[in-house]
């Protein structure tokens, strides 16, 4: 009875409840958006908490039990980051950045629609994909100032593109990890469920971007959110950077532009003047491969501080992962407790009924009353456990979230390693070029009057050397830049983590205390009601 009704709602699976959480956190989409509002956005507390469950199970209790009183059962949570569904999503809560705080950028994802893939293939029918309505509300000047609102339709592929472009443009930054492409799940669950899960994950992801102090101002994000029709972002910009792991926008660096904001056309084309460099890099890469016998070069990390940092993050990840797992077990244990308590209560309801109907002795009637009181207390406790759990999930989910943040941190670290690798590769190339030139010069000087072909070769190599030296200084500048991004981002993440975790701990503890007190009340009432039966000697 109760068990079956609970299955869909709770589930000890934190991932499922993550999405439930997401639908909890968002408000209704603004009325200006076309189409209906997202079905899941407004369910707020009902869907996730026990309200729906208890109202249906209360019908099973029959008139013996009083109807559940929600007024005292539901109470607000105590930290700023969790909510009963009526707060803003992911407002940064740290006090250190007032300008960022007053700016807001809120995004809703809704109205999934199926569209057909327009391919050039001769096969009729073709594949289909889903698009989502992305609604943005903001007061940021980059978007047009207060009262700005935009709606666009995007598909998941667009999100992947956005994510890739951000990774390229913001190397060294701790960039939120985008939702999985993961197709496996869609085979296991209904397509509707999959689309809903994806919708929720997208909303979460986009809003994470929207509160990142740097990324929220990125052109890539703005284009994604604002420009209707086809997404004006190429899948990948920096072909040059693909040549040698990690050299970002080298052409632009060479031309001296360090702009973070690009206009639409530039962002869409491969970098200007990059074609010569492409050729050089292709040759460089080949020579690297030749020298090393096809083995991929490994970065030689010498920065002790960085190495220590990385190790610390790895250790932290391990402990966090462990705690996250234990948190899941705790949630399951609480859920089970609530379920069993409820079942016990129901069993006593049945007993009450039996002792009441056709009671033959007064002692039976008295016992019926006692049993009814037990049933009431047990059912109440059961409800409280389930509410407690719903809140616990919201709090402890932070742990799981930060596992994702660590992934992003590692990604930022590898940006740095890639950049260093570029520097080191270019350095070793310079060394080898230098020695080749010296060898040729030595050989040429032996020939009287010079060797025209050799001279030409030397000239070429010197040309290449010059370009490579420039490339190396670019790479070094880039490396330093990424290092600085790493540093400031880690500081930001550290700060946010402190705030978030403190909030989580406080919320968790307050929650536990609050619900324990409510339970104590229910049990004390029962103790009072049965106080006539004190054991001999008590």
């Amino acid at each position: 009875m109760m068990k079956q009704e609970n299955h869909g709602d709770e589930g000890a699976n934190l991932h499922a409840s993550q999405d439930d959480m997401e639908s909890l956190v968002l408000d209704e989409p603004p009325p200006s958006s076309n189409g209906q509002s997202s079905p899941s956005a407004s369910t707020s507390v009902e869907r996730h908490s026990t309200t729906a469950t208890t109202s249906s199970t209360s019908q099973n209790f029959n008139s013996i039990l009083e109807p559940p009183s929600y007024a005292d059962a539901i109470f607000t949570s105590f930290d700023s980051s969790s909510s009963n569904g009526h707060e803003n999503p992911k407002q940064p809560s740290y006090q250190s950045d007032p300008p960022t705080r007053s700016e807001f950028l809120k995004i809703w994802v809704s109205d999934p629609e199926k569209e057909l893939e327009l391919t050039n293939s001769l096969v009729p029918g073709g594949t289909s994909y889903y698009t989502y309505l992305i609604t943005t509300r903001t007061n940021m000047p980059e978007y047009g100032g207060p009262g700005s609102e935009f709606t666009v339709r995007r598909r998941f592929k667009d999100v992947v593109t956005l994510s890739d472009r951000l990774s390229e443009s913001y190397r060294g930054f701790v960039i939120p990890i985008r939702p999985d492409k993961s197709v496996v799940e869609s085979q296991v669950m209904q397509i509707e469920q999959f689309v809903e899960q994806r919708r929720a994950a997208l909303a979460k992801y986009l809003n994470k971007l929207a509160v990142h102090p740097t990324l929220k101002k990125s052109e890539e994000l703005r284009l994604f959110l604002v420009v209707r029709g086809k997404l004006p972002l190429a899948k990948s910009v920096d072909m040059a950077s693909r040549m040698l792991d990690g050299a970002v926008r080298l052409p632009r660096q060479l031309t001296g532009e360090a702009a973070a904001v690009t206009d639409v056309n530039e962002a869409a084309q491969p970098a200007k003047g990059g074609r010569d460099l492409l050729r050089i890099f292709r040759e460089l890469r080949q020579s690297v491969v030749n020298d090393w016998g096809g083995v991929k070069p490994v970065v030689v990390e010498e920065d002790k501080e960085f190495i220590e940092r990385k190790e610390k993050v790895a250790e932290f990840e391990q402990q966090l992962s462990n705690l996250s797992q234990q948190a899941e077990s705790l949630v399951k244990a609480q859920q089970d407790m609530g379920e069993t308590m409820g079942e016990l209560g129901l069993a006593f309801v049945k007993l009450t009924k039996l002792e009441t109907e056709g009671a033959m002795f007064e002692s039976q009637t008295i016992r019926a009353t006692d049993m009814k009181n037990v049933a009431t207390a047990a059912v109440k406790a059961s409800r409280l456990y389930r509410e407690l759990n719903a809140q616990t999930v919201k709090h402890l989910d932070k742990l799981h979230e930060y596992l994702g943040v660590i992934l992003a941190v590692n990604s930022a670290f590898s940006d740095r390693s890639s950049a260093l690798l570029t520097v080191q590769t270019l350095s070793s190339e310079l060394v080898s070029l230098q020695s080749r030139i010296e060898k040729l010069e030595a050989a040429a000087s032996k020939i009287f009057g010079g060797d025209r072909s050799r001279m030409r070769k030397i000239e070429e190599l010197k040309e290449t050397l010059k370009v490579s030296e420039d490339a190396k200084s670019c790479a070094v500048r880039e490396y330093e830049r990424i290092k600085e991004n790493n540093r400031s981002e880690l500081e930001r993440v550290d700060r946010e983590r402190h705030e978030d975790f403190m909030g989580m701990l406080k919320g968790f503890v307050l929650n536990q205390a609050g619900y324990a007190e409510k339970m104590a009340n229910a049990w004390e009432k029962l103790a009072e009601e049965t106080s006539a039966y004190k054991r001999d000697g008590n």
């Binding site: 610390k312 932290f316 402990q319 966090l320 462990n322 705690l323 797992q325 234990q326 948190a327 077990s329 705790l330 399951k332 244990a333 089970d336 407790m337 069993t340 308590m341 079942e343 016990l344 069993a347 006593f348 049945k350 007993l351 039996l354 056709g358 033959m360 002795f361 002692s363 039976q364 016992r367 006692d370 049993m371 009181n373 037990v374 207390a377 406790a381 402190h498 975790f501 403190m502 701990l505 406080k506 503890v509 307050l510 536990q512 205390a513 609050g514 324990a516 007190e517 339970m519 104590a520 049990w523 004390e524 029962l526 103790a527 009601e529 049965t530 006539a532 039966y533 004190k534 054991r535």
Partner: protein
């Protein structure tokens, strides 16, 4: 320790002196594991304190084992038809091998309750078999135990056996599915129906109570694991946040211990009484089966008597020389019939008294159990609330640091 209301005849002592109040109190204590492997068993010390004249001396200590208690129960069931014999804890073949401390304590408690209920029952306390059980030396007890087991095995209608192994068969007998002969007593029908329903519902409640004990243990375990993990993360974090995690971890571990304690309390003070209630109802079912049997026998006997009567009349008409013999037989059967009727009526009377006593006793027993349950849960909830609340100021200092 339960005192009794038995009147003492010819007592010359003043009513105020303690030794004049008749009492019979028994305690089952000191479980000791004896023997090895399959032969292993638990022996208990049974201490009897009494001033009943039939008993030897004010105090007697004997050593008994589970099968001795079974012997006593079976003897009482045979002799006191109509009385609801107090139930025994199950003979568990599986747990015997494990003999956990908890199992031993639960069994000891149940056996103690069993004997005391007998000692405080105004009919049963007068039983000679009870006296034997409480006083005979171990060799005598052993002999009796083996002897009686042998006899009972030969009995064609060992009702306890049927009831234990094939409960449905008993209900068939009781509900009259096998035999057409059944009491046509609407109130008794109602009672039977009630007893059967009650067993089902109680068994369900007991099942969930047992699960609840398990849930407490599981929650305790997961809090402990959670606490350890939090402490490890705290060590990793360092500084104020790390301290916060460490404190949280410590609290979780402390609460885990509280939960384990409460789980034990819940088992002994709530689940066991429920189990005891189920057993009591099962004992009533056995008595119901006895009554049905007695009724059937009575009817069969009545029919036989009728036949004999007809036969006798026939013989008398034909002036057969077998009249004397037949008359003798008839008279004998009639006496038997009256005896059977008397016995049956006693049974019915006793049962009616027993039912009243049972209902009252159970209301009290369960009331106590519910009270303990409520107190235990309230205690647990309060200590959980206190523990977490005490953590809050520490968290405040951590976050402002």
């Amino acid at each position: 320790m339960l005192t009794t209301q038995r009147s003492v005849s010819g007592s010359s002592q003043s009513p105020r002196s303690p030794s004049s109040q008749p009492y019979l109190s028994v305690s089952v204590t000191d479980p000791v594991k004896l023997g090895n492997g399959v032969q292993a068993y638990i022996s208990y010390r049974v201490i009897t304190k009494t001033n009943f004249p039939e008993y030897q001396g004010p105090e007697k200590i004997v050593i008994r084992r589970y099968s001795d208690f079974v012997w006593l129960r079976d003897r009482l069931f045979e002799k006191y038809k109509g009385v609801f014999i107090p139930p025994l804890p199950e003979k568990s073949a599986v747990e015997k091998f494990r003999f956990s401390a908890e199992f031993i304590e639960m069994r000891r408690q149940a056996l103690d309750v069993f004997v005391n209920r007998i000692a405080s029952h105004h009919e049963l306390q007068q039983s000679e078999d009870l006296r034997t059980f409480l006083q005979a030396d171990e060799e005598t007890m052993e002999r009796l135990r083996f002897h009686e087991t042998g006899i009972f095995k030969k009995k064609p209608a060992d009702l306890m056996q049927i009831f234990k192994d094939v409960q449905s068969k008993v209900s068939d007998v009781v509900l009259g599915k096998e035999k057409p002969v059944e009491e046509s007593n609407p109130e008794y029908e109602k009672l039977k129906h009630y007893i059967f329903e009650l067993e089902n519902h109680l068994a369900e409640a007991q099942k969930h109570a047992y699960r609840l004990v398990k849930r407490h243990r599981e929650l305790g375990q997961s809090l402990s694991d959670f606490g350890k993990a939090a402490k490890l993360l705290g060590a990793c974090e360092g500084d104020a946040l790390g301290k916060a995690f460490t404190e949280l971890g410590a609290k979780s571990e402390a609460l885990s211990i509280r939960l384990q304690k409460e789980a034990h309390q819940l088992l002994m003070n709530f689940e066991e009484p429920l189990k005891d209630y189920v057993r009591a109802v099962q004992s009533i079912k056995a008595t119901i089966a006895e009554r049905a049997n007695a009724f059937r026998q009575q009817c069969e006997l009545a029919e036989t008597i009728k036949l004999k009567e007809i036969n006798l009349e026939k013989l008398m008409l034909t002036r057969s020389d077998r009249v004397g013999e037949a008359e003798h037989e008839y008279k004998g059967l009639k006496a038997e019939g009256e005896e059977a009727s008397r016995r049956f009526e006693t049974m019915v009377r006793l049962m009616n008294e027993e039912i009243v006593r049972f209902q009252e006793q159970k209301t009290t027993d369960m009331g106590i159990a519910f009270h303990e349950f409520a107190k235990g849960q309230a205690r647990l909830a309060n200590s959980i609330a206190d523990a977490w609340r005490s953590l809050l100021p520490k968290l405040e200092t951590c976050s402002s640091a």
